[in-house]
Amino acid sequence: MLLINCPYCGERPEPEFVYGGQAHIARPAQPAEVDTQHWADYLYRRDNVRGVHAERWRHAHGCGRFFNALRDTTTDQFLGTYKVGETPPAPSKERA
């Protein structure tokens, strides 16, 4: 069970959260003007990262807010969480 640092509430256990898929996929502003391939990419194409992955979580059974997280998919360690609209933090250096 992961421990997730909600930017609004602090560290809470995983069952309070719902995973929201890859982060930073903006819905095209004018969908009608987007060609089929790019629309399909927006709908379906996601990265399958081995390493640091920017992803969305929602504190569904807490404050209800969506936020973003950087998680290393090889270790399940979070390198940071941040609010919607913020730029991802630089991955913090692991302590030696």
Partner: protein
């Protein structure tokens, strides 16, 4: 009790307290503090089980959790029967009843032992090759027989009557293992102010100290091990920051330092208090973890190594020092390491005749010491075989120099002690995804850099020797406390860094044997690698001959390391044998994955209190009690209990539903629609939000009006639907399907919080705030008129109106909507008034033919009108046009969720499956929902169907069956005859419109 097998003094047992127990129907006596294995050995009983495959007689091999052979079922009563318990861990109590497993009719005479003679025909993987023909026989004959012959204990047939508790805990430092390293670590961490949990799987803390109470005082600062232990435990127990848990196994290491502990509370008690749970499962979130899990002694792999009476040297030492039990009277020690010599010397002191020590290595200091004590030592020894059926009675030894056998000898004995060295218990470290490093000098895998905030201490990281272990534990505990209490601590990332240097230098250049003893021309008999799964050296060789190379594949083909003991005693030897055969080093071959649980954990402890009525939350509407009192039959819809129908007298569902359907269309029906999802969308941008989200045009929806809304996903497929009312300019009352409310709200929040952050909109779930009473039928207006304070005449309050008012003095939102096709209203009142208002409406309606109906009737009535149910008539691949709902789309809107996808050419292909009506040629035949629809009768299987039936009912109002289905190019097929295969031949159906009843819609506008 056999005379002379129990020592006069010493150990942790209570000699004065006699404890009687039953094993395989025979009554024995042990003493307080005994395990079942210790008590049986004290009675001279070595034969405790039969092996998994060959049914070979097996004795106890080990003294703890790693025991592969002595598996028993402990039975309290018919419902309390626990299989596959290790006799080495079962604590006896007065009247304990245990039975051996995998034998029939008896342990001493087992017919299944015939398998042993067929052993050459049933090597590893035999069932993959032998039982191939005929194919059906595998399921009917071969597999059941193989499973019956090869087996462990049986699960009880009755429901588990015991209670299991759960506890969540946090601590600064969790220490796993209360041996010398763990106690030292816990003491150091607690002394530095940390909150500590110290757990150990055994009944008493102490670990190896319990088997070695007289360890040289000088090793641990002057006092004896016994005294050191007592003093340390007194300090820990008195410290309020320390929680000491006995009989508690740390079974799993989960991400971010969550450790699962299984605490056994009552299995050791003769008559447990009724209020005591049987087990308690802890989920401990520890800031730091110290793993002090110790090491497990490795057996030696040689011919005939599995007879009862052959046991690990350390186990014999534990039985002697902790339980005061002599495991035999005449013993031979076969060893590949120095530590085991202590067992021989101590047993000799206790009066056991040590016939010989056979050391597989050249002579060293330990050999000389033993010779000095008067024990013959055979160096460079090999074992040629053993003798004895239900108990070993001799071992055949020789010295192997180059390829020559000398000093061949047969040593009579009733006990063979074996030791191949120690395997550090890296299970938890590895479960946490920590890397393992191979130590050439120790011939062992050791913990590498941790993946979590954990550190290993003592024997589990290759530190041996009591003084070193204690100081290693102290250092680990102090370091863990410092990390845990560091205010600058950055969350849950692992401490990282390089593994600390290993303190111990091995005392002998060959510290144990990883693999098997060499076979010679004179060797006879099988050499077992995995006792519990009956895997021999030959099986491993066979797997390699057949081309398996990965250790994971070898494991699965031979089943080595796969049983309930998960190869605690066998994995490393198997790896050594495979590595040698492949000419590789053990780390090049690699180790199989360690998985939780460390030892088996009962299902009950995972379920905890989530059983029966507490399994899932239950949601009841305010009118539940009214319906229950009238004998309603309920159905589960999500977590809701919904009234399905209200049978009268001896009515079955069919009869009740037919009556309810007719009543709703001829008089008046009342229906509990409270489970409908409800979301209040509020804010100055509410209409913009609704426009962007739902397909409909919301600007044109006037205050006081409702509209049927459709919600798509951005891929263009129908996600949810429901009536949306405009309460005021900036307030929308949105309803969703019963099951869809949470996901619709989540989707709304998603868009609002992440895409359209500029919109001033607030969303509130109001599902449970409103009780919803649907009043439907020609008399609905008359029934309500006398109860409410607003004008609901046809002109003032037409179909799809909404208004605020009062009913019986209670504030309400009144909708004129219909899911039946009749004149209908939905009365929304605050939930607390729901029951009273319902009863008032029902009472007033009785003179107007008022009939309560349930969800089944609701389904039939809506299907008569062709109204869809999202999730039943749609399946996530259905567009609004497929469902015949494109009329709802706001055509002039530049965008809404899903609009771009609807413009894809594939979404408009004429052969898409479209929702149509289906009527059977024979009116009384009701189709099966989910049935396939074919173009031609007698279509061979397999064939691609045109579509399938989504809804099918008998309509009492129409006097015939009706159905809807998704059919390829369906609307162009209206009038065609299609065929629905069934168990009784093809059913001819005509494709029709989805509206079966009142197609003009006159009734709804009445």
């Amino acid at each position: 009790m056999s005379e002379g097998l129990r020592t006069a003094t010493g150990g942790t047992i209570d000699r004065g307290r006699s404890v009687h127990f039953i094993f395989d129907g025979r009554r024995y006596a042990g003493v307080g503090g005994d395990t079942l294995a210790a008590a049986l050995l004290a009675n001279g009983v070595h034969l405790m089980g039969r092996s998994f495959k060959y049914h070979r007689p097996r004795g106890v091999l080990a003294s703890g959790a790693e025991e592969p052979n002595a598996l028993v079922t402990v039975r309290r009563d018919a419902a309390r029967e626990t299989p596959n318990l290790r006799a080495t861990q079962v604590e006896i109590y007065e009247g304990l009843e245990a039975v051996s497993q995998n034998r029939w009719p008896a342990l001493t005479f087992d017919l299944g032992a015939v398998n042993d003679f067929f052993a050459p025909f049933i090597p590893a993987g035999f069932y993959y090759k032998t039982f191939k023909w005929p194919r059906r026989a595998w399921y009917a004959l071969y597999e059941p027989r193989i499973r019956a012959a090869a087996g462990l204990g049986r699960a009880p047939r009755l429901p588990d009557p015991d209670r299991y508790a759960n506890r969540f805990a946090h601590c600064d430092v969790l220490v796993v293992g209360a041996g010398p390293a763990g106690i030292a670590a816990a003491s150091a961490a607690a002394a530095d102010g940390a909150r500590v949990i110290l757990c150990d799987e055994q009944s008493l803390p102490g670990g190896s100290l319990l088997s070695d109470p007289h360890a040289a005082p000088s090793l641990i600062g002057g006092s004896s091990a016994e005294v050191w232990l007592r003093e340390a435990l007194t300090r820990l127990t008195a410290n309020p920051r320390v929680t000491l848990l006995a009989r508690t196994t740390a079974f799993g290491y989960f991400p971010h330092n969550l450790i699962g502990l299984s605490e056994r509370l009552s299995d050791h008690l003769e008559s447990p208090p009724v209020d005591l749970p049987r087990e308690r499962q802890w989920q401990v979130r520890a800031r730091e973890v110290v793993i002090a899990a110790g090491a497990i002694e490795r057996p030696l792999v040689f011919a005939g190594n599995d007879r009862p009476g052959i046991m690990l040297a350390g186990a014999a030492r534990t039985f002697l020092n902790r339980y005061g039990v002599l495991a035999g009277t005449r013993a031979v020690l076969v060893t590949a390491d120095d530590d085991a010599y202590a067992a021989a010397l101590e047993l000799k002191d206790a009066g056991v005749f040590i016939a010989c020590i056979a050391d597989t290595r050249a002579a060293g200091a330990a050999s000389e010491q033993a010779r000095a004590a008067g024990i013959p030592v055979l160096n460079d020894a090999v074992v040629l075989g053993t003798q004895g059926r239900r108990r070993v009675n001799a071992i055949e030894l020789a010295r192997l120099e180059d390829t020559e056998l000398t000093q061949q000898q047969i040593q009579p004995c009733d006990l063979v002690l074996i030791s191949g060295g120690f395997t550090p218990s890296v299970h938890l470290h590895s479960q946490s995804r920590g890397k393992l490093l191979w130590s050439e000098s120790l011939q062992a895998f050791l913990p590498g850099a941790p993946a979590e905030r954990s550190r290993s201490a003592g024997a589990c990281r290759g530190v041996f020797g009591l003084a070193q272990v204690v100081s290693d534990g102290s250092a680990a505990g102090a370091a863990a406390a410092a990390e845990a209490l560091d205010p600058a601590r950055p969350g849950v990332a692992p401490a990282g860094g390089a593994p600390r240097a290993i303190a111990s230098a091995p005392t002998h250049p060959e510290p144990g044997l990883v693999g098997a003893l060499p076979r010679t021309s004179a060797t006879h008999g099988r050499a077992f690698v995995d006792w519990q799964n009956d895997v021999t050296t030959k099986d491993l060789a066979l797997a390699l001959r057949e081309g398996f190379r990965s250790i994971e594949h070898v494991k699965r083909y031979t089943t080595t390391g796969m049983a309930t003991d998960q190869g605690k005693t066998s994995n490393l030897n198997a790896l050594g044998i495979v590595a040698r055969a492949l000419g590789k080093s053990p780390p090049q071959v690699g180790l199989t994955t360690f998985r939780m649980p460390y030892t088996p954990v009962t299902f009950g402890s995972f379920a905890g209190l989530a059983r029966g009525e507490l399994f899932d939350p239950l949601r009841r509407t305010p009118m539940y009690d009214w319906a229950a009192a009238r004998g309603a039959v309920f159905e589960d819809v999500g977590l809701w209990k919904r009234a399905r129908y209200f049978p009268r007298g001896s009515e079955d569902m069919h009869a009740a539903v037919a009556r309810e359907c007719v009543a709703a269309r001829s008089g008046c029906g009342i229906f509990d629609a409270s489970t409908l999802g409800k979301i209040e969308v509020v804010g100055k941008d509410a209409v913009t939000f609704m426009n962007r989200l739902y397909v409909n045009a919301w600007n044109s929806l006037a205050v006081g009006r409702c509209r049927y809304g459709i919600l798509l996903r951005d891929d263009g497929f129908v996600y949810d639907d429901g009536v949306v009312a405009r309460i005021s300019e900036d307030v929308f009352h949105v309803t969703t399907t019963t099951g869809g409310a949470p996901r619709v709200l989540a989707m709304m929040e998603d868009f609002l919080q992440t895409e359209w952050t500029e919109l001033k909109v607030w969303l509130t779930s109001t599902t449970e705030q409103w009780a919803v009473i649907a009043v439907q039928g020609p008399n609905a207006r008359e029934v309500l008129q006398g109860l409410i304070d607003i004008d609901i005449g046809a002109a003032a309050f037409p179909h799809m109106s909404v208004a605020r008012g009062n009913i019986c003095g209670v504030p309400m939102r009144l909708f004129r909507v219909s899911f039946t096709g009749e004149l209908g209203f939905e009365v929304n009142v605050p939930a607390d008034f729901g029951s009273a208002v319902w009863e008032a409406i029902h009472e007033r309606g009785e003179s107007h033919g008022m009939t309560a109906y349930g969800t089944e009737t609701m389904h039939v009535l809506r299907a008569e009108k062709g109204y869809i149910i999202v999730g039943q008539d749609t399946d996530g691949t259905v567009t609004p046009d497929d469902a015949g709902l494109s009329w709802a789309i706001g055509k002039s809107k530049p965008d809404f969720v899903g609009k771009r996808s609807l413009a894809r050419p594939a979404m408009n292909a004429p052969e898409r499956r479209q929702l149509v009506g289906l009527t059977t040629r024979e009116p009384s035949v009701v189709l099966k929902e989910g049935a396939q629809v074919m173009a031609q009768p007698g279509t061979p299987i397999p064939s691609r169907p045109l579509g399938h039936v989504t809804s099918a009912y008998y309509s009492a109002n129409l006097g015939r069956s009706i159905a809807m289905g998704l059919i390829a190019g369906g609307r162009a097929r209206i009038g065609q005859t299609l065929y629905v295969p069934s168990g009784h031949g093809d059913i001819a159906v005509e494709v029709t419109s989805t509206v079966f009843f009142d197609p003009a819609g006159a009734r709804i506008n009445a």
